[in-house]
């Protein structure tokens, strides 16, 4: 298969950046999108040119590194996948493919298609944890949790922090990401001690990082590779209202 690639090239954070056009030919339909970029990069290296910088790690859809904005969508034309699980057979032969980095103020471009997503880590540091006593490991299932609740908590826990929700959102909001963590821990008994604080602190940090507001368009959930449902956002809203409107019985 043959493709015309329009790729965002940017030397560093200070550089203005521009699109450059590359032709690739002889690509097997079963080449993954990232492998196609590898093939292009090998050629660029042989030609003595700078290869295209892009994030990638596990290449099996679990790490969330490979954040690319392809043909106007986060992680390309298919819903709920990572870029590494996108194959060239999902494109038409001869198609023009526009590849851009994730765009958001809290995601500054480091180089080409690589962006700094540590803003998400700083939000997690503010409340995405639980307190446990050190010592011997507790027995498994010593705290009974109904299966349905455990399943729901796990659904929210599967967020891989790829940032596709931010990239796809028209307001560059990180609500789905924040809501996944808030909801995951809100479901479980281990998450209760910090529950009230968590939602307040994570929302404050989300705003401080410069992420936009959520307007419930639902674009995030369509692009999310972990299929985090919008019910996470409803849960965050409930926790936020509850934490701010009801008195904290345990406050001194």
């Amino acid at each position: 298969m043959r493709f015309t690639l329009e790729i965002w090239r940017q030397k560093n954070a200070q550089d203005e950046g521009r699109f450059e056009v590359y032709e690739v030919d002889g690509i097997s339909p079963n080449t993954s999108f990232l492998e196609m970029l590898d093939i292009l990069n090998e050629r660029l290296i042989k030609e003595g040119k700078e290869p295209v910088a892009f994030d990638h790690d596990c290449r099996e859809g679990i790490c969330g590194s490979c954040g690319l904005f392809i043909n106007g969508r986060a992680h390309g034309p298919l819903p709920n996948i990572t870029t590494c699980r996108l194959y060239m057979r999902h494109f038409k032969d001869g198609e023009r493919i526009v590849i851009e980095p994730f765009r958001a103020k809290p995601f500054p471009v480091i180089k080409d298609l690589v962006v700094d997503r540590s803003a998400l880590d700083r939000i997690i540091q503010k409340g995405g944890y639980i307190s446990v006593n050190t010592g011997s490991a507790p027995d498994a299932n010593s705290i009974p949790i109904p299966k349905a609740v455990a399943d729901r908590a796990f659904d929210y826990a599967t967020c891989i922090g790829c940032g596709a929700c931010v990239a796809a959102c028209k307001n560059a909001s990180a609500m789905l990401f924040v809501a996944a963590k808030v909801s995951h821990l809100a479901m479980l008994p281990q998450g209760q001690p910090e529950r009230r604080q968590r939602v307040k602190r994570m929302v404050a940090q989300m705003d401080s990082e410069g992420f936009g507001h959520c307007s419930n368009t639902g674009a995030c959930a369509v692009e999310c590779p972990a299929k985090i449902p919008l019910s996470a956002i409803a849960q965050l809203q409930r926790d936020y209202i509850w934490a701010n409107l009801t008195p904290d019985l345990y406050a001194r």
Partner: protein, 222 residues
């Protein structure tokens, strides 16, 4: 920004502002229902007697007058938060995408809230000038029914009215569902399905109910 900037209050965060938006939105939607119910009296073939009595009641009843203050406050707050969100739009994504296929992952209604809001706001201003200011503040010698009749028999005004109602439908098509989601009331899939269905019915039914009235007056002139 790396450090947390503590919000002035919980209602000043993006989530808090969204809750204000949703709460005032729900309040304004209840107003729409009351307003529509009154307007439908215009369709009674009694020369406007019922409608004029209703207009008289609405402008003199002390309970309604108090509610009116809340209604104005609801509008002002809803519009203020909207303007705040519009002013923030560019800040969270200073450099946009060269190619953005947003149609693949979200509805047109959710992406055009700004446009529909602006059209409905312009409509609101013209509408208030035409009826509220004329009748209540300037003490027009004409009855409410006569004012409506004169306005709706003007095809340009009726066209403007109908177009505005279409955009109001757009606004409600996303706003109805969105406000329930923001208030955390969508607890499970079944409630979600009910809210989405009710939202579609509301967004279609209410603007249609309003739009029938100018069309009725317009058709009668022929």
């Amino acid at each position: 920004m790396r450090t947390t900037v503590e919000p002035v209050s919980w209602l000043h965060t993006s989530v808090g502002r969204k809750i204000i938006m949703a709460a005032t939105g729900v309040f304004l939607m209840t107003f729409l229902v009351v307003h529509l119910a009154g307007n439908l009296l215009l369709l009674r073939a009694d020369g406007g007697a019922a409608f004029n009595a209703y207009a008289e009641f609405m402008s003199t009843n002390p309970f309604i007058r108090v509610l009116e203050v809340f209604l104005f406050a609801g509008f002002v707050i809803h519009i203020y938060q909207g303007i705040y969100f519009i002013s923030r739009e560019k800040k969270s994504r200073p450099k946009g995408y060269a190619l953005n296929n947003a149609g693949a992952n979200s509805s047109i209604f959710s992406r055009t809230m700004r446009l529909s809001a602006i059209v409905v706001l312009v409509f609101l201003i013209v509408h208030l000038r035409h009826f509220f200011v004329e009748h209540r503040l300037l003490g027009s010698p004409y009855t409410m029914y006569d004012l409506c009749k004169a306005a709706f028999e003007n095809p340009w005004y009726s066209l403007f009215y109908v177009v505005s109602m279409v955009l109001l439908g757009f606004h409600l098509a996303h706003g109805f569902y969105s406000s329930f989601q923001t208030l955390g009331l969508i607890l499970n899939r079944r409630i979600e399905a009910v809210i989405k269905w009710a939202g579609a019915a509301f967004a279609l039914g209410v603007p249609l109910g309003f739009a029938i009235i100018p069309l009725y007056f317009l058709v009668k002139t022929f």
